[in-house]
Amino acid sequence: MSSNKQGYSLVERYLPYLLIAPALGYLLFFIGYPLTQGVLLAFTDQNGHFTLQHVYYLLYSPSSNFWPALEDTLALAAAIIPIQIMLALGFSLMLSANFKGKDMALYILIIPLTISDVAGGLIWYSLLTANGFFNKLFMALGIINQPIQFFGYQFRPMEFIAIVLAEVWRATALVFVIIFAGLQMISKEYIEAAEVFGAGTWTKLRHIIFPMLKPSVQTALLIRTLFAFQVFGVVMVLAGRDIPVLAGEAYYEQTILYHYGVAALYALIIAAISVVIGYIYIKMFKAQYLREVTM
């Protein structure tokens, strides 16, 4: 009987490990192994010896685009994310009101989510190019008599705008879906209670909706910022390497220049930045009300 009992406790003790073993194995194989390989690639030469040559190349070579890429990636994130959060918030509030055709509007808003980034880039390319839709339209309306140039190294500020436009159009839907879902979860009772006490629209927004939306906004920000550091397809299509971004440079070093070590280094840098940003967001946005409720 006692041995039986012991056996039971043995199972009890090791069962959890057994149960997480597949997940652990999965993580080790699909994340641990590639990560180790990535670090090895970044810091060894062809003969497998430790080297910092890839780091030197990345930082100092005239052929390396690291600093401009870092700068432009940050600039793009800084330009795109606030616009997306604002728009998504606006749309969510709009769609939480009842009006005719609300479902239709919802579906239309979400359509861009289904389009891949390269396809999205191509759509905006053909809209904005010198022979494209907008230029033809504005010329026909007599608003401009020369096509507006959006693309090319000499027009980098315009390329930047084009990328922001395409990204806002393509990925706002993702932020919107998260925030809209968060908004739906806020119980009507809070708002009704506030109304009983005579709260106006702004007060309701400021003291009920925004605080309760924090977890959703946090999730949306986190996902969006991580994606912003992986931005690639849209930039490649619209600006090539005129506006270098980190993921684009990793691709270029890997496939065109065959600098596998440097490409791995880029990947590690993107990963490191993502971890840091994720940490900051989680620290910054502790959902106050949730803590109070659970405590």
């Binding site: 005239p62 052929s63 020369q146 065109i256 220049l257």
Partner: protein, 449 residues
């Protein structure tokens, strides 16, 4: 039950057994003779091995085995087994077979660079002893390169190159002194200076920058820099990298760039910009403009590249057919060479793979339309005067750095307006170092032939 078999019966049985045995023996003899006859017939149908580094992708291999070689077998009764392999495998295998003195491969299909290496080691048969191939003319440029180390090392089989494409609209804006004929045939009046004047004229008359290059991240513009402009202006790809001629070349490109569609830095292939009418004159690899010409064969002409102060620089990718020394069946291999270089076969290969014919007669054999436009253009370039053929250097893993040096020079000098001499002086040692590190020889035209 013991006496079931009477003596008579047993005698009858033994008789029928004897007959059966005789029948079996006779049948066996007939079968044996028949098999011997069949086997000897089998030996009469010749079978050879063709090793190739080209047409190796599954789709192309299916075409070679299913169409080309079955057709060849029907015509000649020669059975060919096609063996696709990588560049390094090919060199290793030929080397070991030649050194062991036991050659199994009868025909080699490979790129110029590899064949050059084999010829330098004396592994290839001099093909001039087989006589000529009637009914086909190989351009002089190709034949010149096929003569290696004192022998005719290979027969030019397929080519690929980069050409210019002109929208017929653009011919309405030709600059003074340049005719449509000059451009199409690649006469000596079709110069880089004329291209500049043409692009300028187009800009002044239409208000649009209608010349374009694939200078995007995946574009092949770098080939235009090292294989076209450099040879045309300095006579070499690498040697004169920071010479006075090179400075002139970069200043020319800076001037030209004023009339180049600025969106060029985002384009990877020119087919789309040509079709959308964003450019009227473009330069690109034949495979990357094919689409435009297939969709609108009447709208575009493929023309040779212009000529520079030193000549008409262009990159040529040539695949050749060679017979190794001591090949088991050189005669059958020669028959296969004969078949593969027939204009009709070459057109079939172009249709399926995008590799261009090496014989002039193929242009008349191609069906009218897109293919003919393409073949005519490539042929015109191969036969245009003053060629300086450039070959892509074989730098292995360093080939990315090679590209990077020319692209960095372009970016700093043309796009950012830095001093050409300073930029080139800084980059030149890096460029030379690539050849030193890998031990690769300087490519033609730097090395001569």
């Amino acid at each position: 039950m013991n006496n079931l078999y009477t003596p008579r019966m047993s005698r009858a049985i033994s008789k029928s057994v004897a007959i059966a045995i005789i029948v079996i023996i006779i049948a066996a003899i007939i079968a044996g003779v028949g098999y011997y006859y069949y086997a000897s017939q089998q030996q009469k149908t010749v079978s050879i091995i063709w090793a190739s580094t080209q047409l190796v992708p599954p789709e192309e291999q299916a075409f070679v085995k299913g169409t080309l070689l079955t057709d060849f077998e029907k015509q000649t009764g020669i059975k060919v087994s096609f063996v696709g392999m990588s560049y390094s495998d090919m060199i290793t295998r030929i080397t070991s077979e030649e050194q062991a003195g036991k050659v199994t491969i009868s025909l080699i299909g490979d790129l110029h660079g590899n064949l050059d290496l084999m010829a330098s080691k004396g592994y290839l048969t001099d093909l001039s002893k087989f006589g000529t191939l009637p009914g086909r003319t190989f351009p002089d440029v190709l034949m010149k390169y096929a003569h290696l180390h004192g022998i005719l090392a290979y027969i030019p089989w397929m080519t690929a190159t980069y050409v210019m494409v002109v929208n017929k609209e653009a011919f309405k804006y030709l600059p003074q002194g340049l005719t449509k004929e000059d451009v199409i045939t690649g006469s000596t009046k079709w110069t880089y200076q004329a291209l500049l004047e043409w692009a300028k004229n187009l800009y002044e008359k239409t208000g649009k920058k209608l010349l374009g290059f694939p200078a995007g991240p995946n574009g092949l513009f770098v080939r235009f820099l090292h294989g076209y402009l450099y040879p045309a202006f300095t006579g070499a790809q690498v040697k004169n990298f920071n010479s006075q001629d090179a400075i002139k070349m970069w200043n020319y490109l800076k001037e030209l760039w004023q009339y180049v569609n600025p969106a060029s830095t985002t384009w990877d292939a020119m087919a789309d910009p040509l079709l959308k009418g964003e450019v009227w004159i473009a330069w690109d690899h034949t495979a990357r403009i094919k689409d435009a010409i297939e969709q609108k064969p009447d709208q575009f002409v493929v023309v040779p590249v212009p000529i520079g102060p030193k000549g008409r620089g262009y990159i040529l990718v040539v695949a050749g057919l060679a017979i190794p020394k001591g090949a088991p069946d050189p005669q059958a291999a020669w028959k296969l060479i004969d078949y593969l270089t027939k204009p009709s076969t070459q057109v079939k290969v172009l249709e399926k793979t995008g590799f261009f014919p090496t014989v002039k007669e193929a242009s008349t054999q191609a069906p009218a339309g897109a293919l003919q436009v393409l073949i005519k253009g490539v042929n015109a370039q191969l036969n245009a005067p003053n060629p300086i053929v450039a070959m892509i250097p074989s730098l292995g893993s360093k080939s990315g750095d090679f590209k990077s040096i020319y692209i960095t020079a372009f970016k700093q000098i043309v796009l950012q307006g830095q001093d050409p001499q300073k930029v080139l002086n800084e980059l030149y040692p890096q460029l030379l170092n690539l050849f030193k590190e890998t031990g690769a020889p300087l490519p033609p035209p730097d090395s001569g032939t």
